[in-house]
Symmetry: C2
Subunit: 340 residues, 2 copies
């Protein structure tokens, strides 16, 4: 089959690899019908050392079940399924807590940018799309494998409810998803910090009430002005770099919450009296347990309440995935849908 492999920074190629084979009775084999490139794929795209054997890429997918292991109970061949970016058994203590990304049998996918893929713990991981679902909904359904529900996780953990003032740091696809999620959860004021007008324009359509293009001191001053000097109840940090974190703790309101879903590109950060502690700010977030939210949000996509697939502004065949990385890296595209 064809699969996208990364061989080093900036070097993604589609190559022929052996078809994956079911090895455990709890696995399913799917033919990937929709995949995409994630902002987090750009981290290795910038920094991966030369890797002659290649690294399989991609963790967001919709597919059609081609084969199931002997113990799979909830999927049958022919089902269309949404596959979250992390697999999970659905039964362990952490899955029962709704922290599926910490499942004791769990792991993070790589290899969704390919024609086929193995889904471990298929019953616990995949969610079936009702038969007959209109094909036009597939991009929005694909966002339930990661990006929209990552934004949703940010908003949920940020404690967003009716009346909350929310600031979203980052205008990438996750940030835009966080705007939409905050809107769905009833936020009144939604400030989007970003400087790419194609993105912030979409952010405005998805629910942002204010746009702040400034960064650093100027960005802080602007948010404080918008919030009447009080700061933001919830800051949804959808970038992962230190300046975004610094922005976040400077604009969070005393007693408020910073909810991070951008993969941190740092380990240590300010958390002492001068940043978080002094104003009783809460820091939360992490890899979104999208499986915990998926069945609840699926109907909202199916009935058209939300259309999170709007973050896809380009579509390319798998063969052209190198171009998809380039377009996202150069910010010419917000998020590229891939059709294997």
């Amino acid at each position: 089959m064809k699969a996208a492999l990364m061989f080093g920074a900036g070097d993604v190629r589609v190559v022929e690899v052996p078809d994956p084979v079911i090895q455990k009775p709890t696995e399913a084999l799917i033919r990937v019908t929709y995949a995409c490139v994630c902002g987090s794929d750009l981290h290795p795209y910038h920094g991966l050392a030369d890797t002659p054997e290649g690294v399989s890429m991609g963790h967001e997918s919709i597919g059609v079940v081609e084969e199931v292991g002997a113990d799979v109970r909830t999927l049958v061949v022919g089902d269309t399924v949404i596959v979250p970016f992390a697999w999970s058994d659905g039964t362990c203590a952490f899955c029962r807590d709704g922290v599926h990304t910490s499942c004791v049998h769990g792991g993070f996918f790589s290899g969704a940018q390919a024609e086929k893929m193995i889904v471990p713990y298929a019953d616990g991981t995949a969610v079936v799309v009702p038969a007959g679902t209109d094909e036009s909904l597939m991009p929005s359904l694909l966002t339930l494998s990661d990006v929209y529900l990552t934004g949703y996780h940010a908003a949920v953990r940020g404690g967003v409810t009716a009346g909350t003032t929310v600031t979203v740091v980052g205008d990438g696809a996750v940030g835009l998803s966080a705007v939409l999620a905050a809107k769905q959860l009833g936020a009144e004021t939604i400030i989007l910090m970003g400087r790419h007008t194609a993105r912030t324009d979409l952010g405005r359509e998805l629910g942002a009430t204010h746009l702040v293009a400034e960064r650093g001191d100027d960005g802080v001053a602007k948010v404080m002005e918008i919030t009447g000097g009080l700061g933001s109840h919830a800051v949804l940090e959808a970038v992962g770099h230190m300046p975004a974190y610094e922005q976040a703790y400077r604009i969070v309101r005393p007693g408020g919450t910073i909810s991070r879903v951008g993969l941190p590109q740092y380990e240590d950060a300010p958390v002492g009296f001068g940043s978080l502690f002094g104003k009783n700010a809460t820091l939360t977030g992490g890899p979104a347990p999208v499986r915990a939210y998926l069945e609840q949000i699926l109907p909202q996509v199916l009935d058209g309440t939300i259309n999170p697939g709007r973050v896809f502004d380009r579509e390319l065949p798998l063969d052209d995935i190198a171009q998809a990385y380039r377009l996202m890296d150069s910010r010419e595209a917000i998020k590229v849908l891939i059709r294997p």
Copy 2:
């Protein structure tokens, strides 16, 4: 009047200073009847540079109102009042949010280890003890100025409810208060990490179900063993030093919460994928807005439901306060009550 001043590390003396005088119409003057030494007073006791003019000390007090400014409405001369360690106007946006320690007119007391003290924003700050309250309740009522409600804040922010597994890091008076608060909030398993048997024995009486004397890797292993390998839903960090923070993130359960009330003696700390982010752990806490809880918890002390004053194991007159600091610094005393 007499007041305790610190002139450098290890050097606390009672000296004669001018009586404080009301300068604003919102202030009250109280005669301090009960005060105490706080674990946080030991930080300058260890590290204060020589200060010939002296630094006034103490922030926990009960007193009798001697005089009120023209705008004070809720206090009258002769009232016995509990004075939280931070003053607050009670009316600003942050006070209305319950984050009184971030009050726009607020500040932190120093000068309660003295015969008299000015209470700024007296209406918003002080809480009247009902006339006729038995004198024997005063030590427990004094803990509502800081230590018990700081432990309570840790437990509330840690999300402690019925069935929660809680680990308290630190067996000082705040840690012991956190144990009692966790018990009150319904925690089933309460693990107290500490190595001073006089303290952990009291911790056991206040509600701890397990004691862990080990630290570092051994301490982590012990907590993981007690929690069936899952970790602790809530970790209440009542120390403020980096090893306590490291302990906390290593034992917190995925999706769980670290709630800090020990004044951090660091600014930067691990918060990335390997510490907090990867397991969706939440970091919260800060200076306890005790005023937000005080009126709610006061009846529990008055009716004997809780007896948080048990953390006081010594009582000394103000004249002997240097000895109180020594006893707490050497851990011969958990917490010393001071009678000016």
